[in-house]
């Protein structure tokens, strides 16, 4: 047992070797050391979902994970999904549906919905209940959710959502 621990995190496809205090929260490492500012801290208790990342592909609230717990695991933030066709489709649908206002919850919402839509057959899109249930992991105080749900369903129906011009 030592004061700092050496960890290797695979963040957005890049390995980072870091010395961290065991108490350091993953979200703080991502924000403060790696300057991944899409990670937002809204409650630091796993309720609001503004800090949602993909941990080995599963949406997880990075405020409730110690950096040491993520040793050797793959962490994907919104920045790491930039350019991905599913994410691009989702972002476009959010824009078209006015699905954001202050933007604080948006990155966590996008990451969470991305995991719902990724690899999904556009002919069997999620139901509205399924989308809303998944969004329970994200609080939004601005939009009332309706526009987000519409955006997610639109993106799901259009598959990658990436209609080539």
């Amino acid at each position: 047992m030592t004061e700092t621990v050496q960890v290797t995190l695979l963040v957005n496809g890049v390995e980072h070797a870091l010395a961290v205090e065991p108490r350091l929260i993953l979200a703080d490492v991502l924000r403060e050391r790696m300057e991944l500012h899409s990670i937002h801290l809204g409650c630091e208790e796993g309720i609001c979902g503004a800090c949602t990342v993909l941990l080995d592909g599963e949406p997880s609230t990075s405020c409730l994970i110690l950096a040491v717990q993520a040793e050797g695991r793959s962490i994907t933030t919104l920045e790491g999904l930039d350019g991905d066709p599913t994410m691009t489709g989702l972002q476009a649908a959010f824009h078209e549906n006015f699905a954001l206002q202050c933007g604080f919850c948006t990155p966590g919402v996008l990451v969470n919905l991305f995991s719902l839509l990724e690899d999904r057959d556009p002919s069997a899109p999620p139901s509205e209940v399924e989308v809303r249930t998944r969004l329970n992991g994200n609080l939004c105080r601005c939009t009332g959710y309706q526009s987000m749900v519409a955006a997610a369903m639109q993106a799901a129906r259009s598959g990658s959502g990436h209609e080539d011009p």
């Binding site: 205090e21 108490r23 350091l24 924000r31 403060e32 300057e35 991944l36 500012h37 899409s38 990670i39 937002h40 801290l41 809204g42 409650c43 630091e44 208790e45 309720i47 609001c48 503004a50 933030t77 919104l78 920045e79 930039d82 972002q91 959010f94 824009h95 078209e96 006015f98 954001l100 206002q101 202050c102 933007g103 604080f104 919850c105 948006t106 990155p107 996008l110 209940v129 989308v131 809303r132 249930t133 969004l135 329970n136 994200n138 609080l139 939004c140 105080r141 601005c142 939009t143 009332g144 959710y145 309706q146 526009s147 987000m148 749900v149």
Partner: protein, 786 residues
């Protein structure tokens, strides 16, 4: 309906791209080299004397830069909350308004849980929190005052000695002859209502970052809604010239009420004191215990009415639990008084509010300030009157609504600016019918009867709201064009989710005659513009737009004059469209870009350099937005749980700049109101601890908690500004709790529920059901109940 090239159209949001990529810059994202981190040590007691504070261990802890207590604050002024109404209002109603100092850090005594007691500055937040735990404070607990009725008792401890008692303010109004009308009414009734404490809860907690430079002065990044006011307050208390302070509000994670807080002053103070930039980022527990507590009113209402349910007289005595300070004067209590008559013609009216100091967090305006409670009270009263007379609640509203031909309508109640409250335009009866038709009221009643026979409890609830919007100081804007044709708006407003980068650009595009793609907006920064009001009170669509339109029009006129002068043509007939200036025959004369380049080369005309103009606008008084809400829901009689089914709102915000943005404001507002109605409550225990201190216990609505929400627009232009705009930021919230409470009552009919409180958690609903069941057994036994 007013439309221009882009005004009135659902233009996609121009601010989206940075947020969609996670590149919004919120205060915690602003990086300054060498910034230290502050943590506030807060009181764990509602009321206690501070015998001694020992900071020695904390000061010696690893990474600590400084530890500050009240004893160190010898070089600051005092924070004395604003508390005086404008003279026009004060002369009219003669309110009682008392002021007292609020210490920036508790000195000798703490008056609420969460009050700042000390500050720790350290190398990072972890170390600062470690050190804060090492500050030893020796408290001697005192008896707390935790509800306003207790605070008024003669034996109650006085919380601020300066006030003499616990009454901070009192205001009342009388219209017509309420005593006479009450005495003459066919029916009278009396109700008590309690609206519990709720919290604004933006998703992004507050944050402040400050840097001090002896030459530049202070630069402060703050998540505040009014940067210019923050600058004034900081300057006043810290003794720094206003022009040596720059307050920047970058992106903000919502706000929903608020203003200038202790930390907005303390963090700049620390930066100056320790000679390093200092950052403070609030966490959620701090936000919930500190920021934007709201509602918390007790109403004692008497009503006189006739057999058709017409309200002949209304009297309301209101107690407001202010917490330990009132930072906003009569905003909350008087908003309640001035909105209580709502859309209804009530000729005889009397209301008085008393603001009582208690050992809780300050009660402040939050989305729907004072109006949520007003709508709850008046709409519950109408619902009870309908039940008492066995009339359809929709019919009772119909007989009370102000008819369209009575517009503009003077309610007889002065507004907070001392001017008459005159509803500037609208058609309330049509609005009610629009909402009822959208939800298909008759069909619902038929379905309700069928389901009732199956033992299911579905209900429908109606409420109306009024919202005085566009209040407050002027707003300013500068519009300028550069040599490439890029148009920049500098606004004194403050965008924290309201889509100003889109809506103000829409206004500017049409007023100036340019493509919206050429426009960008900057706001929320005192360095941009001398004066700014900021964004609150549903005001920016009204005041911000008018300032932008004014500046853009001035600029257009100036450009035309310049074009005429430089090109030797007549001013008459020149037009600007798409940034191109043409003559009456459509021939291209020049462009704004060319003109900007010309002046840039120093060939100015008329001695006025620069293609830039500025304007300010203050609304002569508030514009009146309105809405009618109808909700259907089902109640689980065994558990008290409510499932919302459908929500319809018919809404008038005057001329609409961007219908999709307005819909977003309204739907978001309704969902805020759904939380206020059903799940959000700031619960204090008997020692004055806030029990709902996290999002586990303070329950914001989630995606599955809300039904489909339909917005139907009426557009009755305001007569108070030439764009015809009314505000729309809060109305969704205002009407929702009343509509939902009424629907819950309706769902259980004929069981006679008597809902007197909001919010309505399942447990409370089950309690009302049991009371109603007991009463109906009592009635069967011949007991009277009203």
């Amino acid at each position: 309906m007013r439309t221009g090239a882009v005004f009135g159209r659902p233009v996609l949001r121009r601010e989206d791209s940075r947020f969609l990529k996670g590149e919004g810059v919120y205060v915690p994202d602003v990086r300054l080299p060498d910034a230290a981190e502050a943590v506030v040590k807060r009181s764990p007691h509602a009321h206690a004397l501070i015998r001694h504070i020992d900071i020695s261990e904390a000061a010696a802890a690893p990474g600590v830069v400084a530890v500050i207590t009240a004893d160190d604050l010898t070089d600051t002024g005092v924070y004395r909350p604003y508390h005086k109404s404008p003279p026009a209002f004060a002369n009219l109603l003669q309110p009682l308004e008392k002021g007292h100092d609020v210490p920036l850090l508790a000195a000798g005594r703490v008056r609420r849980v969460g009050e700042p007691v000390a500050l720790v500055v350290a190398e990072d937040r972890y170390l600062a929190e470690d050190a804060a735990r090492l500050i030893r404070v020796d408290y001697e607990p005192l008896e707390p005052v935790l509800d306003p009725e207790a605070g008024l008792r003669p034996e109650a401890p006085v919380i601020h000695d300066e006030l003499g008692d616990n009454v901070q303010s009192r205001v009342g109004v009388v219209v017509g002859d309420p005593d006479g009308a009450m005495a003459a009414a066919d029916h009278t009734a009396r109700f008590g209502f309690t609206i519990r404490r709720q919290i604004g809860s933006p998703l992004g907690p507050r944050a402040v970052l400050a840097r001090f430079d002896p030459v530049e002065g202070l630069t402060v990044w703050s998540a505040t809604q009014m940067q210019h006011l923050a600058r004034k307050v900081i300057g006043g208390i810290l003794g720094v010239a206003e022009d040596r302070i720059r307050v920047i509000c970058p992106d903000m994670g919502g706000s929903f009420g608020g203003g200038v807080y202790y930390e907005d002053i303390l963090i700049p103070y620390l930066a100056r004191r320790v000679g390093r930039p200092v950052r403070w980022v609030e966490d959620r527990t701090e936000n919930l215990v500190n920021a934007r507590h709201a509602r918390d009113q007790v109403h004692d209402v008497e009503v006189g009415f006739d057999s058709r349910g017409r309200l002949l007289a209304l009297r309301d005595r209101i107690l407001v639990d202010m917490g330990i300070a009132n930072f906003y004067g009569l905003v909350v209590p008087y908003n309640t008084i001035s909105h209580l008559k709502s859309q209804y013609r009530i000729d005889n009216y009397e209301a008085a509010a008393t603001c009582v100091i208690t050992n809780k967090t300050p009660n402040a305006p939050a989305r729907g300030a004072g109006r949520v409670t007003a709508a709850f009270v008046i709409e519950r009263v109408l619902e009870r009157v309908a039940r008492r007379l066995d009339l359809d609640p929709a019919d009772v509203r119909r007989v009370n609504l102000i008819p369209a031909d009575a517009m503009p309508f003077d309610t007889g109640v002065p507004y907070r600016d001392g001017k008459p409250s005159v509803y500037d335009s609208g058609d309330f009866p049509a609005q009610l019918e629009m909402a009822l038709e959208a939800i298909d009221y008759q069909e619902f009643r038929a379905r309700q009867a069928r389901l009732r026979a199956e033992g299911r409890h579905v209900g429908i609830g109606i409420s109306a709201h009024m919202e005085g919007t566009g209040f407050g100081p002027p707003e300013s804007a500068i519009v300028r064009v550069d040599g490439s044709g890029a148009v920049t708006i500098l606004s004194g407003s403050n965008n924290h989710g309201q889509s100003h980068e889109t809506t103000l650009a829409q206004v500017c595009a049409d007023a100036l005659g340019v493509d919206i793609e050429t426009i960008s907006l900057r706001d929320g920064d005192t360095a941009l513009i001398r004066q700014g009001g900021g964004t609150f009170a549903s005001r920016t669509a009204v005041t911000g737009s008018m300032a932008v339109a004014g500046a853009a029009r001035k600029l257009r006129k100036k450009a035309i004059k310049m074009a005429a002068h430089l090109h030797g043509v007549e001013v008459d007939g020149l037009t600007v469209f798409g940034g191109v200036i043409r003559d009456g025959a459509g021939a291209r004369i020049t462009t704004l870009a060319e003109l900007a380049r010309t002046t840039g080369d120093g060939e100015c005309t008329g001695g006025r350099a620069g293609l830039e103009a500025m304007d300010s606008f203050a609304s002569p008084t508030v514009t009146w937005a309105s809405g009618t809400h109808v909700v259907t829901l089902e109640v689980d009689r065994d558990t008290g749980q409510v499932e919302l089914e459908r929500y319809v709102i018919a809404h008038d915000a005057g001329n609409i700049i961007n219908p999709a943005v307005v819909e977003g404001q309204i739907v978001g507002g309704v969902v805020h109101g759904i939380g206020n109605a059903l799940s959000e409550e700031a619960v204090y225990d008997e020692a004055g601890n806030l029990l709902s201190g996290s999002f586990v216990d303070y329950r914001l609505p989630r995606a599955i908690d809300v039904p489909p929400i339909e917005v139907h627009h009426q557009e009755f232009p305001s007569g108070l500004n030439d764009l015809g705009i009314k505000g729309c930021g809060e109305g969704g919230t205002v009407g929702a709790p009343a509509a939902i409470a009424n629907a819950v009552e309706d769902a259980l009919h004929p069981l006679d529920l008597r809902i007197t409180e909001m919010p309505l958690q399942p447990e409370k609903i089950l309690r009302y059901i049991r009371e109603a069941e007991a009463a109906s057994r009592g009635q069967a036994a011949g007991m009277e109940r009203w």
